[in-house]
Symmetry: C2
Subunit: 260 residues, 2 copies
């Protein structure tokens, strides 16, 4: 594999690569383009310098393991670009994706000695890694940061409860509609430019990932998306994007109002 313009910043295979020295200095967090959409917005200028010195930036290509189920929980991560999938597995290989962490989201919190979940990159991902002792120092030194993390975990719990409602009680059609709307919301939160982001959803993950997230099979996901396309509720766009043609209808479907 030779390097191409698109992937030149990333390792071809085998492991994480640390970003160049310039990206690790005390300024990194101060100039971070998504810091106001993340935990880091709780920090003043001095705190941002402390964050930069407590963390290392990693760049990872698609399909890389960030965290392995059952391995020692040594680090905490903040995603600053791309999308990460979090999942749990059964011994026979069945897998449930419990969430996607887009730019601005954190992952890797654990009170146990080992991670109870795995995490892998979906596309090209940039993240900041905090080793546990360093995170704990930050929490103690910056009460606003700790309060912000508590709020962020509380929000994740509310999201998880919403996903339980989806998994336990929604139909395939309702699940896919909910997913597409969530991806639209994620894209809105993530995109920095106001460039025709309206009604666009970012869907960088495969059908297998979507199925494992919604508790369905790839065939059911594919059929349902095809049906939405045929009904002109959505349209495919370039770059793994989907344009949502009728947000209102999809909202009705997602919340269980019958809209056939």
């Amino acid at each position: 594999m030779t390097s191409s313009p698109q992937t030149s910043a990333f390792v071809p295979a085998g492991g994480a690569v640390h970003a160049p020295k310039a990206d690790m200095d005390v300024m990194r967090c101060l100039v971070c383009d998504i810091r106001n959409k993340s935990l880091c917005n709780s920090m003043d200028e001095e705190g941002l310098a402390a964050l930069a010195q407590s963390s290392r930036q990693l760049l990872l290509p698609p399909g890389m393991t960030i965290v392995e189920e059952g391995e020692p929980a040594l680090a905490f991560f903040n995603v600053t670009r791309g999308t990460v999938k979090l999942f749990k597995s059964l011994p026979d290989g069945r897998r449930q994706i419990t969430g996607f962490a887009d730019a601005g989201q954190f992952l890797g919190l654990s009170t146990a000695q080992t991670y109870s979940f795995g995490a892998e990159t979906v596309d090209n991902v940039r993240l900041c890694r905090f080793l546990r002792p360093q995170l704990e120092t930050l929490l103690s030194d910056y009460p606003t940061f700790e309060r912000r993390l508590l709020a962020a975990v509380t929000d994740k719990l509310a999201e998880a409860q919403e996903q339980m409602l989806l998994l336990g009680r929604k139909t395939a059609r309702e699940k896919v509609a909910s997913f597409l709307l969530d991806r639209m919301k994620a894209f809105h939160q993530t995109a920095n430019r106001r460039q025709e982001v309206e009604n666009m959803a970012s869907v960088p993950m495969t059908r297998v990932d979507i199925a494992d997230y919604l508790g369905l099979t790839i065939e059911t996901v594919s059929r349902t998306i095809s049906a939405f396309r045929r009904s002109l509720l959505i349209a495919s766009a370039e770059n793994h994007r989907i344009r949502i043609l009728s947000v209102a209808t999809l909202l009705n479907i997602a919340s269980g109002q019958k809209t056939d």
Copy 2:
């Protein structure tokens, strides 16, 4: 409805009742029998006095609403006796129970203005209610309490991820086996006496609640429990208890190993 010895401490209907003055004084938390199994174990003697003065104790009979989906999130609760169910609903009445909070567990955290979930008592419940401003004062005044809450929410998130795996990828049989084992664990954590608690599970909730927790129907729950009983994996006991006759087999079933 006239009062009976069993329910005399509770209101017959209509609303919460505050416990007698003696239970609200500065000593309440100091003498609380489950404080070491809850968030409150992060507090020293002075902190326990502050907790007691920041909260009121409530006693509620079965089937009472504690928190209503969509209502202003004014309070945070710590369950000190009994079992509470947390749930989310769809407009057409479909319901997903997202968790059961037994003695020692908290509920009611929210960063939004309104609760995104409902909460109701399953049996006779005792809980401590903290109004939001008072909780925030406690968090600021007692850093160990805030750290403990962060850990507790992190644990809840891990539980929620485990439940997503169950809802999305487990069979009915695996779901019910997992549930019974969880109820056994909850009973062990809750019971203070070592009185033949071994292999006992506390199941105070109805089949409807179990079904809404596991993403099944009551018929499927009933059939599955009957099948386990016929296979001598479990046996019914008094007081809404179930004795687990083969923990090992149930563990195998719960984790997807085929054990027919």
